[in-house]
């Protein structure tokens, strides 16, 4: 253990600022993804408006979620489609 530490000290720099930088970069990724309820609601309305141009959807059943994992984050929008709007699909 002791020898290991000495070897580490000689060959690798173990600097606290590197830890700080990594932690900050992760924290900021999460911080920047955080969306207020108000913004989320607004985004949902805008997405619904776009989809509604092409499909009739069940607005009571749809769900908008942001999920986070260690290495990725995803925006999930789930909605049942009741029918398409064929007349406008070509537009």
């Amino acid at each position: 253990m002791l020898i290991n530490d000495i070897v580490k000290k000689i060959f690798f720099k173990n600097e606290s600022k590197d830890t700080a930088k990594k932690r900050l970069q992760f924290a900021l990724v999460y911080d920047r993804l955080e969306v207020s309820d108000e913004a989320l609601k607004k985004m949902q309305n805008e997405i619904v408006a776009v989809i509604s141009r092409y499909f009739v959807i069940d607005q009571d059943q749809m769900k908008l979620n942001i999920t986070r994992h260690d290495d990725l984050s995803a925006l999930m929008f789930n909605t049942p489609i009741i029918s398409s709007k064929p007349r406008q699909r070509m537009a």
Binding site: I10, F11, K21, D31
Partner: protein, 268 residues
């Protein structure tokens, strides 16, 4: 010249906003610009003591916004630097006494009298922040090389962009020896994390405390590294944006340099 409103902000408290405002304001005034520094920390004013003008206050920014006085009455002339004026905060009100609309109105008046108007923003991102940035053309975000300060700076930078106020970063209180040891984030690390342009780097300087104790401008001290750094920041804000950024370094003798190269844990 067209007048410019620059807000000095940070999110976190205690990183040196007020000192930066006083110093950059003084440096701009020394360049023959007419400068107003405005204390926007209503209820917790401090720019007046930092500048040594605390016993000259008659009116304040709230009085001006409420029409109780004129710009010429509220602006306190600095003792040493002509062209430098302080507009103090009120100490008895709270931040809600002003609105961003009030500040836009007041700023129009101020623009007629000054070349530069520096807004010393309070800590936080609530009403005090909203008021300070309301009429700003550009922003200087102050942070220290510490995680909490950098995180708060990121939040403020995001808010400033959303208000179409372009921010630049001032990294304050750099301790070159600690950066070299790897115990403090370097300015490059901070820039990497925040991805924003620098306006200047200021190193930790004991003379700042002395200058604040006595209420004297640090930019008048030619032997103060921080004072000289603030002067260069003022030049970058005043039409010389490409003036090279000087990185604070440890001053070492030849043998010390050799020593640090061959010591354990410093191999690269």
């Amino acid at each position: 010249m067209q007048s410019k409103i620059i807000v000095i902000s940070s999110g976190k408290g205690g990183v040196g906003k007020t000192t930066a405002t006083a110093s950059i304001g003084a440096a701009l005034a020394m360049k023959d610009k007419k400068v107003a520094v405005v204390d926007m920390d209503i209820g917790l004013r401090n720019l007046d003591v930092v500048m040594g003008l605390e016993n000259r206050i008659v009116f304040n920014i709230v009085d001006l916004a409420q029409g109780k006085c004129k710009v010429q009455q509220v602006a306190i002339k600095d003792r040493r630097i002509s062209n430098l004026f302080l507009i103090p905060a009120s100490q008895s009100d709270n931040k809600d006494v002003l609105t961003p609309d009030d500040m836009i109105r007041v700023s129009k008046e101020l623009r007629e009298s000054f070349d530069y108007i520096l807004m010393d923003c309070p800590a936080g991102i609530e009403r005090g922040f909203e008021n300070a940035v309301a009429a700003a053309d550009e922003a200087v975000v102050v942070c220290t090389p510490e995680v909490s300060s950098i995180r708060d700076a990121d939040r403020v930078i995001g808010l400033l962009y959303s208000k179409q106020i372009p921010p630049k970063l001032l990294v304050n209180r750099i301790v070159p020896a600690r950066v070299e040891r790897g115990d403090m984030l370097s300015h490059q690390d901070v820039v990497d994390v925040l991805s924003i342009d620098l306006v200047g780097l200021v190193e930790e300087d004991e003379q700042i405390v002395i200058a604040t104790n006595t209420g004297n401008p640090i930019v008048l001290q030619n032997n103060s590294k921080a004072g000289q750094a603030f002067k260069r920041i003022a030049m970058r804000l005043n039409g010389q944006p490409d003036l090279a950024i000087e990185v604070p370094r440890v001053s070492k003798s030849f043998w010390q340099k050799i020593g640090s190269r061959i010591s354990f844990g410093k191999w690269e």
